[in-house]
């Protein structure tokens, strides 16, 4: 995995574009090049604080959605004072960025196709993963409704599911996954999304003995192993830190994926 420079860096906003319910933030970033699944801690240099409840205070963790042409791309959804401030950034403003951090995805074993399963803003790391794969991947994305489903434009050739049936399959993206596995079980599954979706993916893959790599989210203050805030229970007892042991974890390391949330929004 790529090591991060030892200090947060002030990066300039190259652009920010709406994508349905989301925003794609583009930062001028000379690297180091992130590996698919790695993340960065982001905070606006100016006006970070003073939102709802006089927050935000801590930086926020985001998977790198893409790294190309000297830019890092991140997928944002306004769900709290931190993400709101980041969504309000304009070209030329500066962002503190620490990263790339964490352990990312590993390539599929020889002869297995990759199935990418994403939900909501969790589709972000699957975009850079899709770019990196040599063989075409099967892409399954789930959203609540049509506005969010526009986020699927971040990836190519995606099959979709929505909770309200407005786009694609009316139901859960995990139902699409079951059908795919039924068609051809020689696959490695890569998933990122809400905890309930990840738990569905974990259970389906465990039942079919299919290897799965899950990119988790958890509340974290630092992103580099200092705060021990992002612990999630591991199979057999004890905890792993999502920031340094993950964010991508082998599904078999976990008994189940719970809503550990706690992520400052």
């Amino acid at each position: 995995m790529s090591e991060a420079p030892f200090a947060r860096r002030a990066l300039t906003v190259a652009g920010i574009e709406r994508l349905g319910a989301y925003s794609v933030l583009r930062l001028a970033d000379p690297g180091p090049e992130p590996q698919p699944g790695q993340f960065a801690m982001l905070a606006a240099v100016e006006r970070w604080g003073g939102g709802a409840d006089e927050r935000p205070f801590l930086a926020r963790a985001f998977s790198v959605a893409r790294w190309q042409g000297g830019e890092s791309h991140f997928l944002l959804e306004d769900v709290g004072p931190g993400t709101r401030r980041l969504c309000e950034l304009r070209p030329g403003e500066q962002v503190w960025a620490l990263g790339p951090l964490g352990r990312g995805f590993r390539a599929p074993e020889h002869g297995r196709r990759a199935i990418l399963v994403g939900g909501g803003a969790g589709i972000a790391p699957l975009a850079i993963l899709q770019d990196s794969l040599v063989q075409p991947a099967t892409v399954l994305l789930g959203f609540r409704e049509r506005r969010r489903a526009q986020g699927a434009a971040l990836l190519r050739d995606a099959a979709m599911a929505t909770d309200d049936g407005s786009v694609g399959h009316h139901g859960l993206v995990t139902e699409l996954l079951e059908a795919e596995i039924g068609r051809d079980p020689a696959a490695t599954v890569y998933a990122c999304g809400p905890a309930a979706m990840l738990e569905g993916v974990r259970a389906i893959c465990a039942a079919s003995a299919i290897p799965a790599q899950l990119a988790l989210e958890a509340g974290m203050a630092c992103g580099f192993g200092a705060c021990f805030g992002c612990a999630v229970p591991r199979r057999g007892g004890g905890y792993v830190r999502v920031c340094v042991d993950g964010p991508v974890l082998d599904a078999e390391l976990l008994d189940r994926v719970d809503e550990h949330a706690g992520a400052p929004a």
Binding site: E3, A4, P5, F6, A7, R8, A43, G49, D53, E54, R55, P56, F57, L58, A59, W96, L98, L101, A218, G219, M220, A221, C222, G223, F224, G225, A226, C227, F228, G229, C230, A231, V232, P233, G237, G238, Y239, R241, V244, H260, A261, G262, P264
Partner: protein, 306 residues
């Protein structure tokens, strides 16, 4: 800018607060860049207990106005796991730690090990074992641990604190730092008790006891957000409290004081030094920028040069 502390010569007065910087994990994240620009003039380990601890169930964090509450629960490998697995690596990191301004010269910083026990006997055992390890330059006692008999934190009661410090003092010739808890009626009485019992230095403040309710709790319910129930508040939100307590303690004792609590800049560190602290620790700000302490130390040096 170099400073003497309990017989140790430090390149500058900025260290880390215990439990706010995992040097082993940081080396995994940042590689050699960490060692080439190590931000602290001495490194304090996270708290070590006799037996391994997994830590508290999540959620462990809550963001507040200008700060955060943590309820981590002191996860650690226990004394034997620390000595076997972590101490050699921490010692190697501390030996290789360099300051960029030193031009590669003068590598190496002291390693301070932070210890916690729920009884005097437990702490005495921890101190005795650590005393035999040459890699450890000094010991810091975390006395924010409930007394098994009273349920009160050991460090909250001056009489109990004095007994515990006297008990462990006899077990080690290494410099002994007592990290005071702010969650007490009068921190000055606790400071004097620790000094009287033989502490070589005091550090403060630890986090302030704090709580947050779950935002999605049922109407009228009082469900806590943190898996551990209550937690400790840190960050700029506590800085003014820290300044008052550090000033009061530094005035009341003759031994050196390590001041901490919400330090984000050289100006904040300067305030703690001006009220009598010998050293300053950076904690929560390192979460926001791992190199924050280096920025603070640089700023202090520049203000001296100006």
């Amino acid at each position: 800018m170099s400073v003497e502390f309990c017989g140790l010569r430090l390149a500058h007065p900025v260290i880390n607060g215990s439990g706010t910087f995992d040097a082993i994990a940081a080396r995994r994240a940042f590689g050699a860049g960490l060692l080439a620009a190590f931000p602290f003039a001495a490194y304090v380990s996270k708290t070590i207990t006799l037996e391994p601890r997994a830590g508290n169930p999540p959620p462990r964090l809550w963001e507040t106005s200008a700060g955060m509450i943590n309820s981590i629960g002191l996860p650690n490998k226990g004394l034997q796991g620390y000595l076997r697995e972590d101490l050699p690596e921490l010692a190697e990191i501390c030996a290789a730690a360099r300051r960029p301004s030193a031009g590669g010269a003068g590598a190496g910083i002291p390693l301070i090990t932070n210890l916690m026990g729920s009884t005097a006997a437990e702490l005495a055992q921890l101190v005795e074992v650590c005393d035999a390890r040459a890699e450890i330059a000094a010991l810091e006692l975390n006395v924010s641990c409930p007394n098994v008999a009273t349920g009160l934190d050991i460090g909250a009661d001056p009489a109990v604190l004095g007994e515990v410090v006297a008990e462990v003092r006899a077990r080690s010739a290494k410099p002994l730092i007592v990290k005071l808890t702010p969650n007490t009626a009068d921190v000055v009485l606790c400071a004097r008790a620790a000094e009287h019992a033989g502490a070589d230095a005091l550090s403060l403040i630890n986090t302030l006891r704090a709580s947050a309710l779950a935002p999605d709790r049922p109407a009228g319910a009082a469900d806590r957000w943190l898996g551990g129930g209550n937690g400790g508040l840190s960050g700029p939100a506590v800085r003014a409290v820290a300044l008052a307590q550090v000033a009061a303690v530094a005035e009341a004792v003759a031994i050196p004081v390590i001041g901490m609590g919400g330090v984000q800049s050289a100006a904040h560190a300067r305030e703690l030094l001006d009220v009598g602290a010998r050293l300053v620790a950076v904690g929560t700000e390192s979460f926001r920028d791992p190199a924050a302490a280096a920025r603070v130390a640089r700023g202090l040096e520049q203000s001296v040069a100006d």
